[in-house]
């Protein structure tokens, strides 16, 4: 029996080649897209699963309420040691210090000296590190490995690179021409899916003269983290309660309330974008849900195609169905037969889908800028997913047509050449399905347009500063003398228009903050403000406008303040001029406001413009900025690098153009947008294919009607209208559903940002127009063809 089913399915597939290919290609695209989304989600949710007791691993992080509310994973160097002494609830605790990239490793084999450059993957850790994180040991003892001073554990790949086939344990390597390290262990390379991605783990114990970091609690580094593992049965909440004021207690009383220390679970490391991780990449769970929905839409769209085309094809099968019933086929058997057919098509589609997904994966990885490194069939999960997908697709796509077809009255089925499926009056199921598809594609198109225009706005919105031809470079060592050295040497250059130094540059995410006091006559204002240490060239270099008063004058310590307009407002004043000459108390300094800067964005457009105070302080400069002569950029960069390198001979020059820095703030959104565009085009293609199939069928069925109408004198235009009216109407109905849904979704997405585009009518009009265009193009070919056909030809068939 099964053989009979398969044979007839196969012959029918071949008989209706064009419909079959629409079915198969549509399903393949849908399943392929769903697979890609699944892989993406699988990849992103699979981080750091290799550690046993992962639920007991935490990172120590800080919430800073000192100025607004900011979060940071940056901890001062002494924190891990201090916590280790104060808590016995930790099974293990370790610093992870990654402040050492781009190093040179020297290995001596006999007389031969080899140098290797390591760009990343280096961490200085405590011996307990290996009690927290799981590594597979190829040689060495995890318990002992990093206890010895100046010991190092390296990955398999590094071991091979440095020492070839020889056993590396006991061998020495030199770290950046500073000290020799003894290899005490080799571990398997870390998996791709980890936010603890290290190849070289060096003992924090380097000896007195090479001690890393600093003793104070007043400075921290974003790349120094602290990880720990709780003893079994310890409640995180109880630890968090004890940690709440820990920072203040050890640092400064005044921080006790404002800096809150707490534990972040390891499983959040990859998703919580309040904090950074060692991959510099988090992905919000919301994004993953959104992608999941997109994947589901793809699947749904392709299943709807299948249903539409199959119910249409069923009318050609009615004789067979009738005959089978007359021969005694039970309804279940007919359902089974058609489900078998669906299964066959699904299986063929899956093969296509896997091929497409493999191609798509390459594209997706290049969009995302990181590689998944999972071979498609590596994961049993994926096989499981495909299996579930087969079942779901078969049920979703096959069950309804099968039920419908098997329910035909045998007499009618045999008698007529076709069965009309149109439900009398009302909206037929097929129309609802087409509307569903159109709704999906319209929502996707509208959302894509909104995301894209918000992104465009992000990148192009006026920020109140001039981002063109400005280069920023970090100062690895602070100090007034270095700043002066650089300034003096660069000033003469004709390629450079102006040069300025500051703590964080004009615009940055995460800045410094404090609170100021001001007596505006009615009350004493005590408000928080952002802080920027700048010099007098700041205004020129960044193209910021002075709204009132005068510029700062360089000095070693603050004797005057510049503020922005938002600051004036928070002083309780209405007019910029009123602020000039007023005395403000900030960080112990009482000084007059000499100038007011027009508001400019001091951080990304995700955030509002906050009050900001500007003061001089050459000892707090960490960032240099140069406004270049646009005709001479190459020369200027070379000059800056030369000067920089003479001032910091032991460091490596890095720079970034300001406009690129600004673009980078929106990296997540950009990736999202690219990815969504990819899938949206897929959804549209699938939907259009189904529509094409449907319309060609309708057109064929109505060939005679069209012929008669033309004989009666109907114009080609009126025939096109006749055939397309219905679908245009469906597009309109779909729009009435899609518009409010996408309005709601996008409004809530936009509300994440302080600076957002208005959800203008045009997006919706554009979405609708796109949909109409797609529908018209899709059905256009068929309708125009029937409209132009010679009526005699079509009537002759009857």
């Amino acid at each position: 029996m099964l053989r009979n089913y398969i044979i007839i399915s196969w012959r029918n597939l071949l008989k209706n080649k064009s419909y079959s290919s629409i079915n198969i290609l549509g399903l393949a695209l849908g399943i392929g897209g769903a697979c890609l989304v699944f892989l993406l989600v699988l990849f992103e949710t699979g981080f750091d699963k290799q550690h046993p007791d992962a639920d007991r691993i935490y990172r120590v992080v800080l919430e800073n309420n000192y100025y607004g509310k900011t979060y940071s994973q940056a901890i001062p160097y002494p924190v891990p040691e201090s916590l280790r002494g104060d808590f016995d609830q930790f099974e293990a605790i370790s610093i992870v210090d990654t402040n050492e990239d781009n190093t040179v490793i020297t290995v001596q084999q006999g007389n031969q000296i080899e140098r290797f450059k390591e760009e990343k993957g280096i961490a200085f850790v405590d011996p307990e590190f290996f009690e927290i994180f799981h590594y597979k040991w190829l040689s060495g003892d995890p318990k002992q490995a990093l206890i010895e001073q100046r010991s190092v554990v390296i990955s398999e790949t590094l071991a091979l690179k440095y020492f070839g086939d020889a056993d590396p344990v006991g061998k020495m390597l030199n770290f950046h021409n500073r000290y020799d390290l003894k290899v005490t262990g080799v571990v398997e390379d870390h998996p791709k899916q980890t936010d603890i991605p290290f190849n070289m783990l060096i003992s924090m114990n380097l000896g007195k003269e090479q001690k890393r970091g600093w003793d104070g609690w007043d400075a921290s580094s974003g790349r120094v983290h602290c990880y720990l593992k709780l003893k079994p049965g310890i409640e995180v909440a109880s630890i968090n309660a004890q940690l709440e004021e820990y920072f203040g207690q050890h640092h400064h009383e005044e921080y006790a309330q404002s800096i809150i220390m707490f534990l972040q679970p390891l499983k959040d490391l990859h998703f919580d974008n309040r904090f950074d991780n060692f991959n510099n990449r988090t992905v919000s769970e919301r994004t993953l849900w959104a992608m999941g929905l997109v994947g589901l839409s793809l699947l749904l769209t392709s299943c709807i195609n299948f249903i539409n085309i199959n119910t249409v094809l069923a009318t050609n099968r009615s004789k067979e169905i009738g005959v089978r019933k007359v021969m005694g086929s039970a309804r279940v058997q007919l359902i089974l037969q058609f489900m078998t057919e669906t299964l066959i098509i699904t299986l063929i589609s899956i093969v296509g889908a896997i091929t497409l997904a493999k191609l798509g994966l390459v594209k997706m990885e290049s969009l995302l800028g990181y590689s998944f490194g999972l071979e498609l069939f590596d994961a049993m999960t994926l096989v499981g997913f495909l299996f579930i997908l087969i079942v779901v697709v078969c049920l979703l796509a096959g069950l309804y047509p099968a039920f419908l077809i098997s329910g035909f009255n045998p007499l009618e089925a045999i008698k007529k050449t076709g069965i009309t499926l149109k439900s009398p009056g009302g909206f037929s199921l097929r129309s609802s399905l087409v509307v569903t598809q159109l709704v999906i594609s319209q929502i996707l198109v509208i959302c894509t347009l909104v995301v894209a225009s918000q992104l465009k706005y992000f990148i192009e919105a006026p920020l109140g500063l001039d981002r063109e031809a400005v280069v920023e470079f970090p100062l690895p060592v602070k100090g007034k003398d270095k700043v002066e050295q650089i300034t003096n040497q660069l000033q003469q250059s004709t390629a450079i228009r102006s040069i300025s130094f500051s703590n964080t540059g004009a615009i940055s995410n995460g800045g410094w903050g404090g609170s100021f006091e001001y007596d505006n006559g009615r009350e004493v204002v005590d408000e928080s403000t952002a802080v920027k240490y700048v010099d007098q060239n700041f205004i020129d270099t960044y193209g910021v406008q002075l709204a009132a008063g005068e510029n700062l004058i360089n000095s070693d310590s603050a004797t005057m303040f510049l503020v922005n307009e938002a600051f004036v407002k928070s002083m309780g004043l209405n007019d910029n001029d009123q602020a000039i000459g007023e005395y403000v108390k900030f960080w112990g300094v009482e000084a007059p406001v000499v100038g007011v800067l027009k508001d400019f964005n001091t951080s990304s457009l995700h955030n509002p413009i906050k009050a900001c105070i500007f003061l001089t302080g050459p000892n707090s400069f960490f960032m240099g900025a140069v406004k270049l002569n646009p005709t001479n950029i190459e020369q200027a960069l070379a000059e800056i690098q030369e000067v920089w390198t003479t001032v910091y001979p032991n460091h490596i020059f890095e720079y970034q153009f300001l406009d690129e820095t600004i673009e980078r703030f929106y990296r997540e959104e950009q990736k999202l947008s690219k990815l969504v565009k990819l899938f949206v085009s897929l959804a549209i293609v699938i939907g259009a294919m189904g529509l094409f199939g449907l319309v060609s069928f309708v057109a064929r069925r109505r060939t005679k009607e069209v012929g008669v109408r033309k004989v009666l004198g109907a114009s080609a235009a009126s025939v096109v209208l006749l055939l397309s009216r219905h679908f245009v109407l469906l597009t309109l109905v779909a729009f009435l559903i899609a518009a409010p849904v996408s309005y709601y979704v996008m409004q809530s997405w936009l509300s994440n940002f302080s600076f957002q585009i208005d959800l203008g009518v045009w997006v919706f009009i554009a979405g609708f127009a796109a949909s109409v265009l797609i529908v018209t193009l899709t059905i256009g070919y068929q309708t125009v063809r029937s409209a132009l056909a010679n009526p005699v030809d079509s009537l002759r068939y009857e």
């Binding site: 009979n4 012959r11 086929s329 309804r331």
Partner: protein
């Protein structure tokens, strides 16, 4: 085997009720060979379809093997189709995508007859109707007469008790028609109950009894005079 009592069939529209069959009383015993004749539109096909349980009567009683048909559920009905009733259609209605062999085999698949036995039953049929050479052809590659041979083979391969044929020779030449009628006669002699609809007096002579239907009513019901030969 079949007992129709005061059977009506009508179609209702909003205002009128059109009778297709009216007050049919008919008893057909096992082993009979009945020919239904009558002008076009008389209700012959409707009657045959009701007897074959492809259609339902509007009123009256129908007993099939002493069981009231209106009580029979859909599942039981397909069981009856599978095991007791074979159909032959004027337009053959072979399944286009299946070969001659597969067309004949299909009812056996529904009967759940297993491999070897099924093969020999199909082979029997091919033999009997002299179409062994055609077994791998598709219906569209056959002449009308050959198609109807396959149609009959398919109808009787499952050894039904009742064979219903609605103008089985309507699309055939006289010569081809006789071949089919000969087969029917033989089947009847072997014990199969046959009810056929035909316009041809000549073909009616192959049967044992002729029922004349006019305007949905039985006009006459006579035994065929003598054995034709």
């Amino acid at each position: 085997m079949i007992q129709l009592t005061n059977l009506d069939k009508y179609y209702s529209t909003k205002f009128t009720r059109t009778f297709v069959l009216k007050g049919i009383d008919l008893e057909i015993k096992s082993g009979e060979f009945v020919t239904i004749m009558g002008p076009s539109g008389a209700g012959k096909s409707t009657l045959l379809n009701i007897i074959g349980m492809l259609d339902e009567a509007s009123a009256g009683e129908y007993l099939f093997m002493d069981e009231p048909v209106y009580k029979i559920k859909e599942r039981k009905r397909s069981e009856l189709h599978k095991h007791h009733i074979g159909f032959v259609f004027q337009a053959y209605h072979l399944i286009d995508e299946l070969t001659v062999y597969e067309n004949i085999e299909t009812p056996l698949l529904y009967k759940g007859i297993k491999g070897k036995e099924r093969k020999s039953m199909v082979a029997d049929m091919l033999d009997r109707f002299n179409i062994v050479a055609k077994k791998d052809l598709f219906p569209e590659q056959l002449s009308g007469g050959q198609q109807q041979l396959v149609g009959v083979a398919r109808a009787i391969v499952g050894q039904p008790k009742l064979l219903l044929a609605d103008e089985p020779t309507g699309n055939l030449h006289t010569e081809q028609g006789h071949i089919i009628m000969d087969i029917f006669k033989k089947l009847n002699q072997q014990g199969m109950t046959i009810i056929q609809v035909t316009h041809s007096e000549e073909n009616a002579q192959y049967g044992k009894r002729i029922v004349q239907l006019v305007d949905g009513m039985v006009k006459s019901d006579d035994l065929v005079a003598a054995e034709a030969g």
